[in-house]
């Protein structure tokens, strides 16, 4: 390689880095501008909506899609919000819980799945869902850094935080599906004939799963559960953990072990995994872990009962 060749390579590399940096920032700030105006859709809209109303809410439901599709806050009390988000676990929800106002008394329903808490693989990567606000929210930044989810590449390419979200954001920017002001965060699963058929076939082919035999609490879960117990005491929050129903939860040992862990930590926990065991109509289900709207209505009534018990406690905080 001659000196001239070396200059050529360095020139391309340097120019690439400069252009890449500017393109990235241009995309990032444009998407920030656009996404800040989006209040619908799971990509960013629901998060924006939550951040806008969080200070005034009396109660919030956190968790994964099994929280999102299973509890209708409108049926409980009109000043609540279901912040359940598809594909998220404790890191995402616990971080959001930490942005709630300190002074306001609030009741928190926190969905948690025992099979996840004993996972050996979970590292809290669901927190990346909050990456779009990394540079604009100190709590998100602290939590993402704590879990080391903002790697060296991401420090250069900020737009990586919008990975996989662009279409959703643009779609909701140009075409909103609903008026977010009348949205309470619950996304009902209304079944089509095709989905009903699929579920019937799932049941026909149902096999007994292999149950896990590792019951060491995942480190990320352990850390957040301790964090939340402390946060609960210091921030006027009444925190109720719960596990949503499953169509057929063959493995019960994880539920029993987890219940004991929660008891030892002094946290309130309800296990509803067998809620539909006595009346397990197929019409209550979209698949083996997600309720249909019909099932969710029935389950919400049970949450409403708990709400009534803890509402008094939360207002007495």
């Amino acid at each position: 390689m001659t000196r001239d060749d070396l200059k050529y390579v360095l020139k391309i590399m340097a120019l690439f880095l400069v252009i890449s940096f500017f393109i990235d920032k241009m995309i990032f700030f444009t998407l920030n501008k656009i996404s800040d105006k989006v209040y619908s859709g799971q990509s960013v809209g629901k998060l924006n909506h939550f951040l806008e109303i969080k200070d005034d809410l009396d109660y919030v439901i956190f968790g994964s899609s099994r929280a999102n599709h299973h509890v209708d806050p409108y049926k409980i009390s009109k000043n609540g919000f279901n912040m359940g988000m598809d594909g998220t676990k404790i890191a995402y929800s616990a971080t959001l819980l930490k942005v709630l106002p300190k002074q306001k008394k609030q009741l928190i329903f926190f969905h948690i799945d025992p099979e996840n808490v004993f996972s050996t693989k979970y590292t809290g990567s669901d927190i990346n869902g909050l990456g779009v606000k990394y540079n604009r929210n100190d709590i998100f930044k602290t939590e993402i850094d704590k879990l080391e989810k903002n790697n060296i590449v991401q420090k250069f390419y900020w737009s990586l935080s919008y990975n996989g979200k662009v279409l959703g954001i643009l779609k909701n920017f140009f075409m909103t599906n609903y008026d977010y002001k009348s949205y309470y965060g619950y996304d009902p699963l209304n079944l089509t004939k095709n989905q009903k058929n699929i579920f019937e076939r799932i049941i026909e082919n149902d096999k007994i799963e292999d149950c896990q035999d590792n019951f060491d609490l995942n480190k990320v879960y352990n850390g957040y559960l301790d964090d939340l117990a402390l946060f609960n005491q210091e921030n006027n929050k009444a925190l109720v953990f719960f596990t949503s129903p499953k169509f057929n939860d063959y493995c019960k040992e994880d539920n029993i072990k987890f219940e004991k862990i929660m008891k030892d930590k002094g946290l309130i926990y309800y296990d509803f995994s067998d809620f539909f065991k006595k009346d397990n109509s197929h019409s209550f289900w979209r698949d083996k872990t997600h309720l249909s709207n019909k099932g969710a209505i029935k389950f919400t009534k049970r949450i409403y009962n708990i709400f009534n018990v803890y509402r008094e406690k939360s207002t007495a905080l």
């Binding site: 050529y8 120019l15 890449s20 598809d86 996989g164 279409l167 089509t192 004939k193």
Partner: protein, 472 residues
Amino acid sequence: MLFNSFEFLVFLPIVFVVYWLLNNDLRKQNILLLVSSYIFYAWWDWRFLSLIIISSIVDFTAGTKIFKSETEKQRKAWLLVSLTANLGLLSIFKYYNFFAESFADLMNVFGWQPNDLTLNIILPVGISFYTFQTLSYTIDIYRKQFQPTKDVISFFTYIAFFPQLVAGPIERASNLLPQIEKKRVFRKEWFSEGIVQVLIGLFRKIVIADTIGIYVDMVYGNIELYNSSTIILATFLYAFQIYYDFSGYSDIAIGTAKLLGFKFHQNFNLPYFSKSLTEFWRKWHMSLSYWLRDYLYISLGGNRKGIKITYRNLMLTMLLGGLWHGSSWNFIIWGGIHGVVLSVEKYLKSTRYYEKIGSLSVFGYLITFLIVLLSWIFFRTQNVHSAIFAIEKALQLDFSKPFIGDINVLANSVLLLSLGVLFDLYLFNKKIHLEDLGAKFGVTKVATTAAIVVALINLFYSTSNNFIYFQF
């Protein structure tokens, strides 16, 4: 090490810089390539490096011995050593369980139930590729088309050269070995071409193929749950998943080699723009199809021994080509479908009907694509039962709304696939090969193109999956 991993992002620049710093010393440069290739492979599992080394030793020796042998008998004996060692290792590690299971199934037919003969064997990554590569060396020497190298380092580097070690392209010794033995010169246009091809390959793999793969995996993971339209949609998407996955890999391999001053042959040339299956095989995984033609089809007699033998050879080549992909009846059937259609095309070509059919060539693209699509069902499913089940379900013609799943995934798949196809159409219409795209780009254009592709990758990349062809 995977091309789409963070490790490779660190590994390649280090190798690149040290490699060109050693430009005045060919031997040191080749040693660096050999060591870095072994590190690249050992990142997956260092134990299987021993197989590559065994293959290299056997073929280096066999190549020299064949060349030096004075009698035809000796030459044949050494070729047999090479074939037995390489195909023996391949048979044990790739096909032993398949043959043991097939034998047990056959015995079951006769009412005898043998004990479980299968073994817990790990398939070494890339074994099919480097076995074919190393065999081409000894066969070419046997055919007196190539002279063996005297330099062990060069030969070992030829077998293990990391850009093409685990999933090709299968480079012949006649192309690659002379390049290894000769001082490489840094060429600006190759650097530009390499950068552009690596990034476009990466885009094809981690943006297009991996995004499409989410939907395909969901459907093919539980094929019994879905209706005809869902299965057809998933199969259609799979056709593009496998194309962008494998051609993406080849692009990264060819581009990486160019950065180091090596020129590989083209491996994909817009194969779905083919008017016949014969044309398809001239454009799909070209390094394999030409290998099969030159070392199997021609060795069997090719088309020199009459029409019947020609068809037999064609079928055998495609059946064995299918088996090369994996130890399952599915791949054999996949090869069989291609073999039958290629034979039909060969027959039609020999008759007066061919010209009439030729006038309908506009339909050729569609018919060829549909045949390829059908055969992909066998390629994608786990066993023959699942493949037949999928075809039966597709033929139920239940064209009610397909299952969408995550709308975001499907929307991204459609958008990214459209981008990929539009880019391919551009190359097709302009008659440009991707390999040459960056050649005329100036500094600013290369840097800007790279920056745009990287920005698109950042926004749309999907979680990293293994390259499909790694399993072969």
